[in-house]
């Protein structure tokens, strides 16, 4: 049980940290000009030059592999609800690290989504 909880904490830290670093990097890269093959390649080219994207990748890879380990240890119905806590941790990260304006309405939505995901997958 302890190793399952520790792995879940590791998964949430890597997942949220990776996504926040990726978002920070992509905000610096800017949005693609279009979705033609050339525009997509230019967009990817800009993204791979971002240090924050490269910082995010090992974190996301670690979260991916820890998810694989969790899935091999416990059923999906246990792993996914626990990881639903990512929504709340991620919103705190968005507010305090990315300086996004999280209105009370958005907080309410995030908390409802978090509880809803847990209820859906716990049944």
């Amino acid at each position: 049980m302890t190793r399952l909880i520790l792995m879940l904490v590791f998964f949430i830290c890597c997942s949220t940290g990776g996504e926040i670093a990726m978002t920070y990097g992509m905000k610096q890269v800017g949005e693609p000009q279009g979705f033609s093959p050339k525009a997509v390649l230019l967009f990817i080219g800009r993204a791979v030059q971002s240090g924050w994207v490269w910082f995010a990748l090992p974190l996301l890879a670690a979260s991916f592999y820890s998810l694989l380990v969790l899935l091999s240890w416990a059923p999906l119905s246990v792993v996914i609800p626990a990881s639903a806590f990512n929504y709340v941790v991620g919103t705190f990260g968005a507010k305090y690290l990315l300086r996004e304006q999280v209105s009370p309405k958005r907080w309410m939505g995030v908390i409802m989504v978090c509880i809803g995901v847990s209820l859906v997958l716990l049944t």
Binding site: G30, S72, W73, L98, M108, C114
Partner: protein, 141 residues
């Protein structure tokens, strides 16, 4: 079309693509890991699991879907807030339940329906906020 309306529509399209790719990816990974079996937490056990995942086609299919998900996610957060995109992606759980009822004729409990309602209302609440609250960055050329 106004800038905000265009922003909402393109974010919605990206989130829907994220939902489809993430759901198929997770499904393939779970199927692949069931084929491999429980991972032993020792250096040799992790090495064997790593080799097994590399040689498993179902895992690779899952990885392809998750790469597509990552691309859609990177594109969405290049213009929209992380705290907007992330909860909106949870709409996939509601879709999964509806598909289970309509296609698989599964019986869904009241608790699960309540969860679906919470997700839908939560996503609608987040959807009513402005998709981007940080300063706009220059468009990639």
């Amino acid at each position: 079309m106004s800038h905000e309306r265009r922003l909402r529509i393109k974010t919605l399209v990206m989130v829907l693509l994220m939902v489809v790719c993430a759901n198929f990816g997770d499904l393939m990974l779970k199927r692949g890991m069931l084929q491999i079996g429980a991972v032993q937490m020792s250096p040799s056990g992790i090495w064997v699991a790593l080799l097994s995942t590399i040689h498993n086609a179902t895992i690779w299919l899952g990885i392809l879907f998750l790469i597509a998900f990552t691309f859609c996610y990177m594109t969405a957060v290049s213009w929209a807030d992380y705290s907007y995109v992330m909860p909106a992606g949870a709409f996939g759980y509601a879709v999964q339940t509806l598909l289970a009822v309509v296609i698989l004729h599964e019986v869904v409990t009241a608790r699960r329906w309540f969860g679906v309602v919470l997700i839908v209302v939560g996503v609608l609440l987040v959807g009513q906020t402005h998709p981007s609250t940080t300063a706009p960055k220059p468009v990639a050329s």
